[in-house]
């Protein structure tokens, strides 16, 4: 039996947790762009420049053949950027958040949500550009778009779930940050962002399917570009793995945070 007082305390804790995430996301966004001329416009400019270069190389030089290439590549690029930037940034979370780690009673486990949230906002800001490309290439919204929040949620939780153990590991081994950076760079080319996974030779295909980002990109593109409902099986499995990662990783994260301040 829960007394009303306990229920109120619990509600307040959730409320406070939400407010912490909101205010820290706000802080990080302001910190990133407060003194830059283009400001939050970089969220749009950066992927556009990347798209320009990569589509030149893959589409024109290497002659990758995919329908509606611009929308296809930009969709992949945005989804991947969200994943990559969130993960590489959150690896250093504990080591760069000393002040918060030392704040009595601060809900540390929320920190990765903040980083993944900030990068999600960048993603959301750039999305309208993708819609423009799609409109130009004659792609219209369909009923399957209702699945978008689910796909986004799975990616959000998965990224957070990976961020926890990486940030925890980085406390003991500072090289983790660099390793993650390099691995993500390489993984970018092993993920079908600028080419279609269909064009991968059959004998390598199973390896590509092990990449969770392949599954997610497939879901995003299916929904956005072809109005296809995402395949429930892989997405559900990924979601379950993500929740498990968060559940285990969070404990690891908090205990390593304390160890970190202990060592100072």
């Amino acid at each position: 039996m829960k007394t009303p007082a306990e229920a109120a305390a619990r509600w307040r804790r959730w409320r406070h947790g939400w407010d912490v995430v909101v205010i820290l996301v706000d802080r990080d966004l302001k910190a990133l762009y407060k003194r830059s001329i283009l400001g939050i416009g970089w969220a749009v400019a950066a992927p556009l420049l990347q798209l320009l270069v990569f589509s030149l190389v893959f589409h024109r030089v290497l002659a990758v053949q995919v329908d509606n290439y611009t929308s296809f590549a930009f969709c992949g690029l945005l989804v991947w950027s969200w994943f990559q930037s969130a993960l590489s940034q959150s690896t250093g979370l504990i080591t760069s958040s000393q002040a918060l780690v030392r704040q009595p009673g601060f809900p540390l486990a929320l920190l990765p949500f903040v980083t993944v949230g900030v990068r999600f906002i960048h993603y959301a800001i750039a999305l309208p550009i993708l819609f423009v490309f799609m409109a130009v290439q004659g792609i219209r919204p369909g009923i399957a778009w209702l699945a978008l929040p689910v796909v986004a949620a799975v990616q959000f939780v998965l990224t957070t779930g990976l961020a926890y153990p990486l940030a925890a590991l980085n406390v003991r081994l500072r090289d983790t940050q660099h390793v993650v950076f390099v691995v993500l760079q390489l993984l970018m080319f092993l993920t079908p962002i600028f080419y279609s996974v269909e064009s991968v030779p059959a004998k390598y295909r199973p390896w590509f399917d092990l990449n969770p980002m392949t599954v997610l990109l497939d879901a995003w593109r299916g929904v956005l570009l072809h109005n296809h409902w995402p395949a429930a099986g892989p997405l559900t499995l990924l979601g379950l793995i993500a929740v498990l990662l968060v559940w285990v990783g969070e404990r690891l994260f908090v205990s390593q945070s304390y160890r970190f301040v202990d060592e100072l």
């Binding site: 000393q98 030392r102 704040q103 081994l173």
Partner: protein, 406 residues
Amino acid sequence: MNRGFAIAAHGVGKQYLRRSDPARTWRELLTGRGLRGTSEQFWALRDVTFVVEPGSMLGVVGANGAGKSTLLRLLAGIGRPDEGRLEISDRVNGLFELGGAFLGDLTGRENALLAAVVAGFTRAEARAQMDPIVDFAELAHVIDAPLRTYSTGMMMRLAFSVAVHTEPSVLLVDEFLSVGDLAFQSKCLAKIRTLKDGGTAVVLVSHGMDQVRLLCDRALWLRDGRVVALEAAEVVAGAYEAEMLAETVRRTPDRPPVDLGAGRELRINENRFGSQDVEIERVELVSGSRLASGGALDIAIHWRAETAVPAPIFSVTIRREDGVICVDTNTRVSLVEVPDLAGQGSVRVRIERLDLGAGQYFVDVGVFEQHWRHAYDYHWHVYPLVVEGRTALKGVLVPASRWTIG
């Protein structure tokens, strides 16, 4: 809080691994240094038992490395004790790492809101407290300017103001905020007292025994992680100072006597104590060695330091012939910031009205290590002062007084 305590520690112990050299990079890990390095366990804190009631203040004293910070950290909920039990009421806030989450590009108001939410308020609660926070920090005129335009003092004021306005039931204070001007510091002390009277339990880590005497009800003395004493603040402060004296004697080097003229000599471990890292070369009673009762006393202390010494404390004590201390003041209680010293220079103090009874006194001057750990130089019973005028009879003071018979 009706359990009768805000903090209860039962035999609390915290163990750390003192690693000589753990693997920090993957290369070291791969070349076999391992994640543990060579390690030994040591107790940073052991068998610590105490209770802090709501509305009372506990001072924590001890040398650096005695476990004070470890204790504070455990109280703040950062890490858990390896031994014993720690019971703490829910809303803990600390006056350390002040403004750690602050960001220069945000305005003062945005930062205050951020700090209040980080400290445990919801956004709505934080907004409701914003006016009192800004008023207390005396920053209303600049609160919407970016924080990077603030001085350090202004930043500390804002951070402190946020911390004391988050209605903590336990307030942890590490060292004292030596930043900010005198008026603001006394305002902070007053605010801490108000919180205390309102039922907040305060734990104050301090190196200043005067502060401990003045503010704390009880004090806990830690040495090498263990409790040396847990008594009334006055008692612990006295004992701690006595130990400091012993430490000073131990550190005092052998030096030939210094002739001061007029038949007076400075002799090591007789009337001169201290490590001599800062030497008091000459003490000048600018107003003369004879003074009319009620007159002003001016003292100039000329010092020399061969190597740089961090922010020492200067003290002046006036002692009657029979040893009764009549005046005792120092740069720390006067909230005067002494910079790091190197080379030579002088420090002056003026006591506006010295209403002492006629008689023989001595002016004792000293310069101390910044945490009162030992004296650099202390001259005792060297500089005589004769006060002339009315007698204080059995008292010490002869303040201006008027009788009215009616």
